[in-house]
Symmetry: D2
Subunit: 337 residues, 4 copies
Amino acid sequence: MIITLKKTAPEAEVSRLIENLEKKGLKTTKIVGENYDVFGLVGDTSVIDDRSLLANPIVYDVKRVAQPYKLANRMFHPEDTIVDVNGLKIGGSKVIMMAGPCAVENRESILSAARAVKDAGADMLRGGAYKPRTSPYAFQGLGTQGIELLTEARRETGLPVVTELMSADKLDEFVENVDIIQIGARNMQNFDLLKAVGRTKKPVLLKRGLANTIEEWIMAAEYIMSEGNPNVIFCERGIRTFEKFTRNTLDLSVIPIIKERTHLPIVIDPSHATGDWKLVEAVSLAAIAAGADGLIIEVHCDPQNALSDGAQSLKPENYASLVEKGRKIAEVIGRSL
Amino acid sequence: MIITLKKTAPEAEVSRLIENLEKKGLKTTKIVGENYDVFGLVGDTSVIDDRSLLANPIVYDVKRVAQPYKLANRMFHPEDTIVDVNGLKIGGSKVIMMAGPCAVENRESILSAARAVKDAGADMLRGGAYKPRTSPYAFQGLGTQGIELLTEARRETGLPVVTELMSADKLDEFVENVDIIQIGARNMQNFDLLKAVGRTKKPVLLKRGLANTIEEWIMAAEYIMSEGNPNVIFCERGIRTFEKFTRNTLDLSVIPIIKERTHLPIVIDPSHATGDWKLVEAVSLAAIAAGADGLIIEVHCDPQNALSDGAQSLKPENYASLVEKGRKIAEVIGRSL
Amino acid sequence: MIITLKKTAPEAEVSRLIENLEKKGLKTTKIVGENYDVFGLVGDTSVIDDRSLLANPIVYDVKRVAQPYKLANRMFHPEDTIVDVNGLKIGGSKVIMMAGPCAVENRESILSAARAVKDAGADMLRGGAYKPRTSPYAFQGLGTQGIELLTEARRETGLPVVTELMSADKLDEFVENVDIIQIGARNMQNFDLLKAVGRTKKPVLLKRGLANTIEEWIMAAEYIMSEGNPNVIFCERGIRTFEKFTRNTLDLSVIPIIKERTHLPIVIDPSHATGDWKLVEAVSLAAIAAGADGLIIEVHCDPQNALSDGAQSLKPENYASLVEKGRKIAEVIGRSL
Amino acid sequence: MIITLKKTAPEAEVSRLIENLEKKGLKTTKIVGENYDVFGLVGDTSVIDDRSLLANPIVYDVKRVAQPYKLANRMFHPEDTIVDVNGLKIGGSKVIMMAGPCAVENRESILSAARAVKDAGADMLRGGAYKPRTSPYAFQGLGTQGIELLTEARRETGLPVVTELMSADKLDEFVENVDIIQIGARNMQNFDLLKAVGRTKKPVLLKRGLANTIEEWIMAAEYIMSEGNPNVIFCERGIRTFEKFTRNTLDLSVIPIIKERTHLPIVIDPSHATGDWKLVEAVSLAAIAAGADGLIIEVHCDPQNALSDGAQSLKPENYASLVEKGRKIAEVIGRSL
């Protein structure tokens, strides 16, 4: 940890600050500069709150050197984590394809979507039973009935299912019936929910929040891991920026960044990132080329009559074509799909 | 609702779309343009999902004319809502001052802070018992013990208390012990939590999310109101932007905007907005001048030893000075404080 | 154009507004809604300033239906524009590789970089002679001497050169010596400079501004084209967002968007987008997969001693490896490189 | 300057780096940490390019301690700079009111606007003769004729004029005829233009760029000052964010920040910041309360027929009312207006 003090700081106050820090077991080294003096602190700096140091008027700046995450940190866990979803490996050489409708709407539509994405080459089925909607007047999902329909679709197709958990009081239902629990973008910093899924061993698909930094996102994974669940899969779905042409702004450089900083797999959601089915194929191929461990894509047999997000849903035939092209890209970079 | 169709759309598909819309009870009017044709839809357009319309390749654009919120909408409720907190009126002519530490840390510190802000002229006491922290390794708040200390501070000083609820399973504790339930920025779109507080009659301080639009914020209020609780108070605390000099970016024009679009009161949080106690006074006076109904400000008797957010906490003497200046500004614009 | 009026608007004022609009030659159609009335305007709406309409208190909203750009618009020019740079075709089936140092630093370094990128497979040489630097105390480029060194490098290697023009008073020097004139991100809305390059026939590489929308970017191209120069090549280099892990945030979905909305080629700059050479390869492969017409990449023989942007410069051997991988991706999607 | 090295860095490479730095005259101090080693560099670090250090694979992070600006820095120039505009003092105790139309449209409109704002209490006249417009098809300003009309309005009313310079080739015209030269937001990093106005002694109103950080903004002032012109006035006009309800997002905390970091005056432009005349009064009063040295506000006698930006222009009677209220706020905080 590096603390910068103003040159004008009274000697006595500097001494008091340094003594306090040393009392907490830290070793300090002083670097005398022209306009500022810098102190390096070595030891367990997690006992110190940066922002309380800043409350001291003689302190000009405080910077942590080390990353605040430990369990997710590649530095302390150099080998890749591969998350096992009933035998399906996420984070290995195969690019995993998750697909299905935004929401589970009814029996027929989820079953036909499940069959269609399976035929097109998908590895997993997605579909929302509990839906976070901006408006209280919009379709809120089928709830428990939606979960049952997902399990029926799994029985029929053999595809494991991933679906979003919005509230910890449904956790048992999810642990029993679902293969991957998704934490949605809006709940990325719902810390009680993170702790709850952390107390299970279920794989968790952790979406990045609308406007959360990469570091905050890794810290959300750390919340889950620190409760004992190591099976975290990152999922990038774009961030909110000034540009409104697309629903969100998707920066694929998060893929190599997450892989450098952590040992966990990362999946891309081009549907929410772009909000426009016409852009999904280009972005999906790009994500594979950039090294994504998987893609989660919205597919609907009748997008014009979808109850939510029709605009960003691919038809099965377009999804099948994407899978085929994606497979060739994957092979070029030494992976399968 | 306005739908723009591409001029190249085949006649038959246009007819099919229009028929579908009319079957849903909508009246359509066509405006023939040079490169696009526009259809106006009149009637109950809430039965239509915009994004499913966009899934139709002949559709170029869809725009809603009316606001999606009803209960919060000034148009249907022209007079101001004044929220009554045990006799304290929020949204009336008095600017309400809420103050206290970021977190309840221990008995002595919360009691001394409560006395200090009361002496300085505060109307309410703030203090977090359950703390949303980016790191799982940071101080997470005292929980139930923190709530008990807040009620003790209220008994002693008479100041009503406002504190953050992070999880619906603590709702009863809050309804019983707290005067205003705060929904934090990170939970602004935790829809299950919004519905839960909506089923009580407790006043709710609804913080704006880190990167939520004004419309999404009003829709979050609509969630609470649509469950039966009309006592919503907006609280702006800055949004996340590219500028990192301040913790967040605070645009005070939300005050007249919220007042034009809704009938609900709005309070400003200059502490989280700036993240720097040295900036709090200037921003607080500005907020009063712009018409805020209240201010919620972090005050700590010993910021350098605060367990969280010391950097943005005022000392009691600086808070007292701010209150005094704020009072003069309030008087100039015809309010009291 | 669609104008929304408040239902409370006095009849007389509505009539006055409509009469005014009809006097300007526009045909109006009224759609009576529940809370608002909507008027569609058909005709040459370019005579109307949207924001003056909004000054009228009875007007609630104004929306243009048609895009504000004409010459760049795919709708009026369906076939792709291929920009010819002395025989090198940009926008055709070949992905064009531009590479070289951030700045021209001295004779030896630019010549060795030129040879290295040529050997690695580059089609063009980049290098800044006039450098826009945030600090007046930073290296500002060699100016005219830099241009001369670029032309010397071209003579030796045969690679055409692209370099940035910062001020119209150097235009003649650029027209005479340079193959593509680059307009930098900071000058994307320097309209006098856009008009100046528009009066030549030189190909222009138009970088997107730090925080400019896609529409503003296309309008900047329209400035150049409306002066008579059709040879515009878009260059995306990332936008500024809250995320600071990378220098900028690069959304590759601009590639299909630009191709749908305009007929002009688009090139990606992964070096400025990421600011980190370790991320450049992943992003470059992704850009090719997403359909980019070219890449402009910083390559330096000795990045640790570069006078600017060493952190984002590839060494020649890493660039060569990128070109090789990129070629395979290009082939998979039916292009060459 | 603080350099953080990875613990895994080979001894020999660390030595080479340190030797190199010491050769450049810097003194280094090493702080051995657990996972990283930190080196503090003392001396003239302006000879070092941060981003070239980052090109070295053993370097994990580089941070500058000192601010990169010198002439604008409050640390080296503790007393306030007061800019003298023909006797009008900007940066003193009086809040300076600049007002007038967005653009000079014709003789009658600029003269009537000048009279109206003078009557309402304005100190200076604003009005654009050269207009930066997003579209090449929009009104581009009257140019030289507009400058002449401004000087005529000055003769009649005695109000000094401020207007925007877009291109250095008009500099003589501005030096001769204009009282303050405005550098617009889109040209904040047009460094050749900054250097050109820096070579005069004319006061410069330097608008903040759409998405420029406070530090970049101060560095733009440094460009002007480093050429010899100390008369820089900052002008904040809001930044671009995800929120589109207002034209821009205005954070008034820049006022105390600019005053802490620099010795230069700062003026607020609530018209461009909000883009909506209905919001201008609230924001203006807030700006005065927060300590602004002046306001620049768009006023038009007939906003509905303005050639640009009618939506954000106040009518003279509303401006007069704002001035009156602003005066009371100014008095409360110990200033005049």
